[in-house]
């Protein structure tokens, strides 16, 4: 496939999005220039504005993920899309991907305030390449993810911790999306979303109590796990 690079790579240093299943995830890229583009405003818009380019599509993904508007998030995927996340492959927008976001995430996330932090951080090596037919594209977005995994076990110590506001384990991690996109009827959609953790960023949160491996990867397939993946994927574990 012949490709050409998108010249304005800097544009992709803005917000990127990520999710960790079984955890809360809030995303920050190096976003100084994006203050006039509040995420909340985008969340209220329809899909048409999001579909101008893979870049805006990816920003919308981060937007919806942060806002927890998973139903809107689903509209960003093509019907036969796949998500590779946390050791699982979720196939099909209306089946596996819906199960991941609307089922799993909504079920496991807790109604707790998550304070979004935007950091000036030198995230580089973003890339977007378009196929020559301009109908498909591949992109890599680096990002910083603030993750919070709820402590849900029924343990006396955890109950005490919950009562003093420690109902979760938090960490920052560096992550990378390697996505592919497809242009359908003039509208970009996510064909495949792959997220992998590159490591945690202890320097950013010196008192973070968790690390990216706090939440074990998916290990049980659907339907044995009602919110589980269709296949396992070691590369994204």
């Amino acid at each position: 496939m012949k490709t050409r690079s998108i010249p304005s790579r800097r544009a992709f240093l803005y917000r990127a999005g990520a999710s960790l299943t079984g955890s809360l995830a809030v995303v920050a890229g190096s976003a100084a220039a994006e203050s006039a583009d509040p995420l909340a405003a985008q969340a209220r818009t329809g899909a048409s504005e999001e579909a101008h380019s893979p870049r805006t599509l990816h920003r919308a993904y981060a937007n919806y993920l942060n806002a927890g508007t998973f139903d809107l998030l689903l509209n960003l995927f093509s019907s036969d899309a796949e998500v590779r996340l946390h050791g699982g492959v979720f196939a099909g927008r209306d089946e596996g991907i819906r199960r991941l976001y609307v089922g799993h995430s909504r079920q496991t996330l807790r109604p707790e305030p998550v304070h979004e932090l935007l950091l000036e951080h030198p995230l580089r090596d973003h890339a977007l390449v378009l196929a020559t037919d301009a109908a498909t594209a591949a992109a890599r977005f680096h990002c910083l993810v603030r993750s919070r995994a709820a402590l849900v076990q029924d343990l006396p110590l955890l109950e005490m911790a919950r009562q003093q506001g420690q109902s979760s384990v938090e960490w920052w991690e560096a992550g990378c999306f390697e996505n592919t996109y497809v242009l359908t009827a003039g509208r970009w959609q996510i064909a495949e979303l792959r997220y992998r953790t590159l490591g945690n960023c202890e320097a950013l949160v010196p008192h973070a109590r968790g690390k990216p491996d706090f939440v074990p990867g998916f290990s049980m397939l659907y339907p044995r796990d009602p919110f589980g993946p269709d296949r396992l994927d070691r590369q994204s574990a």
Binding site: Q153, L157, L158, Q164, Q166, V169, H207, G210
Partner: protein, 577 residues
């Protein structure tokens, strides 16, 4: 011969069924309390003077001290109330305490005559489900002077007392050990009132006046609800204080006291060095906003007691040994298969159990009580906490009390110790009880000693160890008395947070190796049994617990750090005249 004696209570605090007093009953009891009692003569430092205390985000209090026992108070310019009061001085501080007649409210004031500052504890009854529990709201402010500019400084919350401990002897003869291992809670060991057997915990406040002077308060939440508050001088080792509440017989305790202290050491604190504790940040939990609100651990609220029938139903529904991995065992020792293929008998003294074992594998065993024919199969887990020592546990299937055992096998000495746990106490059906047995191992190649045994010890008493179980789950143990200990959960800043206590036992296995168990009585009913190796600073252990989800025996494993020690062992020996 006059024999002095300790009047041990019939029940320790966590077992007393304190009366749920009604607001009306409390009002009647307060009606007769004109002013606090005190052994020491009250100060007349304020007699004939007037003070106007202006607080930040709180009331303005206008006082006229008509004598050293009578005052009038107008709140926010309202009509004056007349009350009896007591005042005690400590350096430049005057501690004043009074109730407001006709109400269930009172004030404890710490007035700083040197810097013209004041800390106001407004206190009241009937502000929580348990009406007898004293509620408090702290206001920081200043003394308004004519023509003078309000001072900018304030007394403030602090972590500067965190890690300290004192022996206090009040002027009325009451002796206590008081440990401050947290910024939210404290430990108190009542040497006089309760005989110093167990430590207890209460939500506490720590206020810094200056580098020498502080204010401490606690409320005995979940017990009598009594408040103890005092100002303390760290250099002079003096205190002046007040106690307000209802005792186990529901009699009003309202007295002021002075006292002398003895420092008992300092354990480590873990917050960042430039964190001085002026704000207590509570993670995801909203900061207390309502008057009197504070984090309080109420174990029976979150772990309601179960009936015997509920326990039987829960156990029948789910009973598991060493099932799913637990966050309490994230840093566990590797499981040991040392016992696989072996057969042995453990024989315990004094009528204790005699158990025969055949270890089929590293996870399955057969056991039977000596003299019985039937072998029972159980799942077990074993660890090697020190060379030559194996620690394992399993449920005793078929036991009507749903017993479990945690057994130390000391092959070097042919000794064994066993903590046998079961469900049900006279207080709660889902609460574990336990008996510790000492004995020997019988197996080919081992000759057991006749007299030597592992034995109870107080060597750990006073020490503090942090235990990191897994990511996000770290606590600190403070081994507070020979018969109890406390555990503390760290706040997001790593300052000490919520704390609770339970009865405990300490057994010395060998130098730096201990078998430790505790009961979360009047709490969730858990029995925990650990082998603590102070050389490796690692433990291995077993939790035995019954809740609404059934009976479980699960692994515990954590890595330790030394947090220091308190010099308190000397207070726990048998008393002599």
């Amino acid at each position: 011969m006059s024999v002095p004696k300790i009047n041990y209570p019939k029940e320790q605090m966590h077992r007393i069924r304190y009366t749920k007093l009604t607001p009306q009953q409390i009002a009647e009891k307060l009606a007769g309390a004109a002013s606090p009692q005190c052994v020491t003569a009250y100060s007349d430092a304020l007699s004939g003077k007037s003070l106007r205390i202006v607080t930040d985000n709180g009331p303005s209090l206008s006082y006229d001290f008509k004598s050293k026992s009578k005052l009038s108070l107008a709140v926010d310019g309202g009509s004056a109330a007349h009350a009896g009061y007591g005042a005690l001085s400590l350096q430049q501080l005057v501690l004043i305490s009074h109730l407001v007649p006709g109400t269930q409210t009172g004030y404890h004031l710490i007035v700083d005559l040197e810097r013209h500052l004041a800390t106001v504890f407004e206190v009241w009854f009937s502000g929580y489900t348990d009406n007898r529990e004293v509620q408090r709201q702290i206001y920081f402010g200043y003394l308004k002077t004519q023509g003078g500019e309000p001072p900018q400084a304030r007394h403030a919350l602090t972590n500067r007392l965190e890690g300290k401990a004192y022996h206090w002897r009040q002027d009325n003869g009451i002796e206590t050990l008081e440990l401050y291992p947290s910024v939210l809670y404290s430990n108190f060991i009542e040497l006089t009132r309760l005989g110093g057997e167990l430590s207890f915990c209460g939500p506490s406040d720590y206020v810094k006046i200056d580098d020498d002077l502080y204010v401490y308060s606690r409320v005995e939440c979940e017990f009598s609800g009594t408040m103890t508050l005092y100002a303390l001088d760290l250099n002079a080792l003096k205190q002046v204080g007040v106690r307000l509440g209802f005792d186990a017989a529901d009699a009003l305790e309202y007295y002021m006291f002075s006292g002398t202290g003895m420092p008992l050491g300092q354990i480590a604190s873990f917050e960042p060095f430039d964190d001085h504790g002026e704000k207590i940040v509570l993670g995801n939990r909203p900061q207390p906003a309502k008057k009197g609100e504070r984090p309080v651990y109420r174990p029976l609220l979150t772990n309601p007691a179960m009936t015997h029938e509920e326990v039987e139903t829960a156990v029948a529904k789910h009973s598991v040994a060493f099932g799913a991995p637990s966050p309490m065992a994230g840093n566990r020792l590797p499981s040991s298969s040392y016992l696989a293929g072996k057969a042995l008998t453990v024989r315990y003294d004094d009528g204790g159990p005699v158990l025969e074992y055949r270890f089929d594998s590293g996870q399955q065993l057969h056991w039977r009580a000596a003299g019985t024919a039937e072998w029972r199969e159980e799942t077990y887990e074993a660890w090697e906490p020190a060379p030559g020592v194996v620690f394992f546990g399993h449920l005793l299937g078929g036991s009507p009390r749903h017993d479990g055992v945690a057994i130390v096998l000391d092959f070097e000495n042919a000794l064994s110790s066993c903590v046998q746990g079961w469900l049900g106490t006279p207080y709660m059906a889902n609460e574990a009880a336990r008996k510790t047995w000492f004995g020997i191992i019988e197996m080919p190649g081992l000759t057991a000693p006749q007299y030597r045994r592992h034995r109870f010890t107080d060597e750990l008493v006073g020490r503090a160890l942090t235990w990191n179980y897994s990511q996000g789950l770290t606590s600190m143990h403070v081994y507070t008395t020979p018969y109890s200990f406390s555990w503390i959960i760290f706040l997001p800043s790593d300052a000490g947070g919520l704390e609770w206590s339970g009865p405990a036992q300490y057994v010395k296995l060998r130098d730096d190796l201990y078998l430790f168990n505790w009961l979360e009585e009047a709490c969730n009913g858990t029995l925990g049994i650990l082998v603590i190796n102070l050389r490796t600073m690692h433990d291995c252990g077993i939790g035995y617990h019954c809740g609404k989800n059934g009976l479980s025996m699960s692994a515990i494993g954590a890595q330790a750090r030394n947090a220091g020690s308190f010099d308190i062992r000397r207070f726990y020996g048998p008393k002599q005249a």
